[in-house]
Assembly symmetry: C2
């Protein structure tokens, strides 16, 4: 007897991957390298960008950067970054997306018509502050970064391993505060490498500028690196 093949219905995450691939095609067409930037609320993503992005278009190699800002509501971070004279687009999950705690491929796709992809080499997507769900949704990115503050506790990689595992670069921020904290940054780094031994780890202070040059260099090298693996 002939049997028809059972077709498995696509689940929500598969739908996300389908849309992420469509985003990816758009990014490739404009030759844009895309970074998904994640962290807990208040770890310092925006301050890191304020410090790191200034003047990158005048460096060697020049890198034209744009930012897509994800928030539940408001445009506080986008307003802060707008002084850098780079393209900044605000995407709120409250508007038609139920106030979601993360960005997904569809939300990013809805914002793309407002993002001037042809005017940039690197697009940084600043995700909603959250250590759980953003790690589960690809948006079509080339690289994922998370920012982890030394005020958050050394145990975070063990409590939120999916997030730390999903990222190729972990930026440990606010190291200027270390002298005032009972915080073992070596233990944090060991915990990061325990859950993701491929992770590159940087220690920075977005406030004082310590370590920012290494992060800028990482961003500058990103288009060539992404091109090599594409």
């Amino acid at each position: 007897m002939h049997r028809t093949k059972v077709r498995v219905v696509e689940d929500a995450l598969d739908a996300n991957n389908t849309i992420a691939s469509a985003n990816r095609s758009d990014f490739d067409r404009s030759n844009v390298t895309v970074v998904n930037l994640m962290s807990a609320p208040g770890a310092g993503k925006t301050t890191l960008l304020e410090r790191a992005l200034e003047g990158l278009a005048d460096e060697d190699p020049p890198v034209r950067v744009g930012v897509l800002e994800g928030d539940v509501q408001g445009s506080f971070d986008a307003d802060r970054l707008s002084v850098l004279h780079i393209p900044v687009v605000q995407l709120n999950t409250d508007n038609g997306f139920g106030g979601e705690c993360h960005l997904d491929a569809n939300m990013v796709r809805s914002a793309l018509p407002a993002v001037p992809l042809d005017d940039m080499d690197v697009l940084i997507v600043e995700n909603v502050g959250n250590l759980v769900c953003p790690a589960e949704f690809r948006i079509g990115e080339d690289a994922r970064i998370m920012v982890c503050s030394v005020t958050e506790g050394e145990d975070k990689p063990l409590k939120y391993p999916l997030m730390f595992r999903a990222c190729e670069l972990v930026v440990i921020n606010k190291v200027d505060l270390l002298e005032h904290l009972d915080f073992d940054v070596d233990r944090l780094e060991a915990n990061i490498l325990q859950v993701n031994h491929h992770a590159k780890v940087m220690r920075v202070s977005a406030k004082t500028g310590e370590g920012i040059d290494a992060f800028r260099a990482w961003l500058q090298a990103l288009p060539a690196r992404a091109g090599a693996t594409a």
Copy 2:
């Protein structure tokens, strides 16, 4: 012509409220006041509890406290609290709940058989670290507290208003670090009151103990207060 009445199908949040009511009945039967404790990752919920819960059963009035620890995975916080010699139960959202970024009424209900409700006056449910989704799911609690660290930025109430609006008490933690930060704690408090003018706000340092007596007194008064409004 006779029309049948259109019945609206219960959505997921309504199902949550139904189960929250069932939890509430169990709490009432055991005369337990329940606190839903929320924050971003690393704001210091567990350190606050370490500081505040010790010896509460020997105070006047005596308050026997238990803790239900919510985490995606692991039992790091429960292990820390177990030295207080109070009932501590771990609830992981990874086990059968898809690694959810929040607790809901059903998850809490699944843990209740392990919680000795008759041996406590107050049950503190430490939610998963997240400023978005925990605020959307009632678990049958009497009161909601959030902990907000001064390392997180003054704009958090404006970016995550639902969370701040959902809580009757906002504990501003890590005030010992204020002298090392460019942080305007008065502006944070004004932003909290802007989104929730009913909120009670306390400034504490779980590390040094500053302000902890006020938080302990708030917890001690809670059963009488909850009883008065029940």
